[in-house]
């Protein structure tokens, strides 16, 4: 990973190289991952219970997915490094596993795929812009990634899960939930944090006052 890019420190080894992770990037991305891991852990329990009453229209369960897509989008918007979304999302899943996850180890695979989904959104904008459009795009790609994984593992298109009555509404519900929670709430969260001055080490927190 970024290990190859490490070289002896010098003044220009700072923000100039967008691929190289500074220690503060690593630690703060990890902080986000750990924090959302705790959120995941709580949401896992809630979603597991909440999903059964939603059996009257199963595709609507996709609405519960948005929370799981937050760390990737938030880390990407905040840290702005290639790989931040994947790192934060995977770590969040791993932390929720250590806390006790009702899904067991598979949740780490989910964390990885969901992070990669968000990452794709940032990659498509080449890590150049981090405004609303990028946030929404990353949320959409993240939502699609988890839909694809869910649908292929649990609900393959079949007589039981028809394309029009299940696959498409489920995907739509997941993406909608992702856009609202990961995209909109995620962006608002990053902006609120920036206003507290806590992000002064990051481009996301920089405006002269």
């Amino acid at each position: 990973m970024a290990d190859q890019a490490v070289r002896p420190s010098s003044v220009d080894a700072g923000y100039g190289n967008p691929v190289r992770w500074r220690t503060v990037d690593i630690v703060v991305t990890a902080v986000l991952g750990v924090a959302f891991g705790v959120v995941f852990w709580g949401w896992n329990l809630f979603a597991e219970v909440a999903s059964t009453p939603l059996d009257f229209f199963p595709p609507i369960k996709g609405l519960l997915n948005g929370v799981f897509l937050m760390p990737g989008v938030v880390a990407g918007l905040l840290v702005r490094r290639p790989g931040a979304a994947i790192f934060a999302s995977t770590l969040a899943a791993a932390v929720s596993l250590l806390l006790g996850s009702p899904y067991g180890g598979i949740i780490v695979v989910y964390g990885l795929v969901q992070g990669a989904g968000a990452e794709l959104g940032f990659l498509l904008t080449r890590y150049r812009t981090f405004g609303w459009a990028t946030a929404i795009l990353a949320a959409v790609t993240a939502g699609l990634s988890t839909s694809i994984l869910d649908l292929s593992l649990y609900y393959p298109v079949s007589g039981e899960y028809p394309l029009w009555a299940f696959t498409l509404p489920y995907t739509l519900a997941t993406v909608l939930s992702s856009v609202l929670l990961a995209g909109v709430v995620g962006m608002l969260l990053v902006r609120a944090m920036a206003r507290t001055g806590a992000l002064s080490s990051f481009a996301a927190g920089r405006t002269r006052v």
Binding site: M1, A2, D3, V6, R7, P8, S9, W21, R22, T23, V24, I26, V27, V28, T29, A30, V31, L32, G33, V34, A35, V38, W41, N44, L45, E48, V49, T52, P53, D55, F87, L91, V95, L97, L98, L99, G100, S101, P102, Y103, G104, G105, I106, L153, Y154, P156, L189, A192, M193, T196, A198, L199, S200, S201
Partner: protein, 253 residues
């Protein structure tokens, strides 16, 4: 709240002598087997085996055990209940099976946290699984902030009361209160994380020199034995499930 992580490892747990990567491998085996079975026998056997490991993980005190596992017990119970009550074709046995499955999937995480110092986990992951040392130890540093956050949660809640903010019984107000506290804690954690990064760099974390490991991490025959034991337990579980006629495999999930 997040008792398990903030409580950290039990000192001198015997399970801690099993290398963390061996524990993780066993966890993967258990996850694969439980995710593919939807009956009551398989998870029952697996959970029984996991419970036998509790003393080895130093979880002999019932109160300590409860503090680490209550959310899990709560989750498993409600999963079982909700399925029995709301699903058309679910019997009590199915409900118990689903509840046990949740416990069986989640207990390995609890065992690992209880028996293993996170530093040993980072050592093992970087040495045996070749994870990047910068990322592994960066994550470790962040993990160390969790107990601080748990301790601060209560004082931030009290601090809100001094400002005239409390939720009472209104669930919407409660959610807003917890959200506000979480934001305060997150901002504090990011600030702490930034300072921690500076402190780490001041001790050469960013130097570009290839990092050595003072503790090392060795794999012993007992680690292979542990993984073999996990495979054996799963084999026994599936076999007894098939023999009893309860076997109900699914693709995944």
């Amino acid at each position: 709240m997040t008792a398990s992580l903030s409580l950290g490892p039990v000192p001198d747990a015997r399970l801690g002598r099993i290398n963390p990567v061996a524990q993780l491998t066993a966890m993967i085996v258990v996850t694969l087997v439980l995710l593919t079975s939807l009956d009551v026998v398989t998870p029952a056997v697996v959970v029984a085996a996991e419970l036998c490991l509790l003393p080895a993980a130093g979880l002999t005190d019932l109160r300590d055990l409860w503090r680490r596992t209550w959310p899990l017990v709560l989750g498993a119970t409600s999963v079982g209940l909700v399925n029995v009550l709301l699903s058309d074709d679910a019997t009590v046995v199915t409900g118990v099976g689903l509840g046990l499955r949740v416990v069986g999937l989640a207990l390995p995480g609890v065992l690992l946290v209880a028996s293993t110092d996170p530093v040993r986990l980072a050592d093992a992951l970087t040495i045996h699984w070749r994870l990047s040392t910068r990322f592994a130890f960066g994550a470790l540093a962040a993990l160390r902030l969790v107990p601080l956050l748990v301790a601060e949660f209560e004082s931030v809640r009290l601090a809100r009361r001094t400002r005239g903010v409390e939720a009472g019984r209104n669930p919407v107000a409660q959610a807003r209160l917890v959200g506000g506290i979480a934001f305060t804690l997150l901002v504090g954690a990011v600030r702490r994380g930034s300072r921690l990064a500076t402190a780490m760099d001041a001790r050469g974390f960013d130097s570009g020199i290839r990092r050595s490991n003072a503790r090392g991490s060795r794999l012993h025959p007992r680690d292979a034995g542990f993984v073999a034991g996990a495979v054996l337990v799963c084999a026994v579980a599936v076999t007894s499930s098939v023999l009893s006629g309860a076997w109900a495999p699914i693709f995944v999930g």
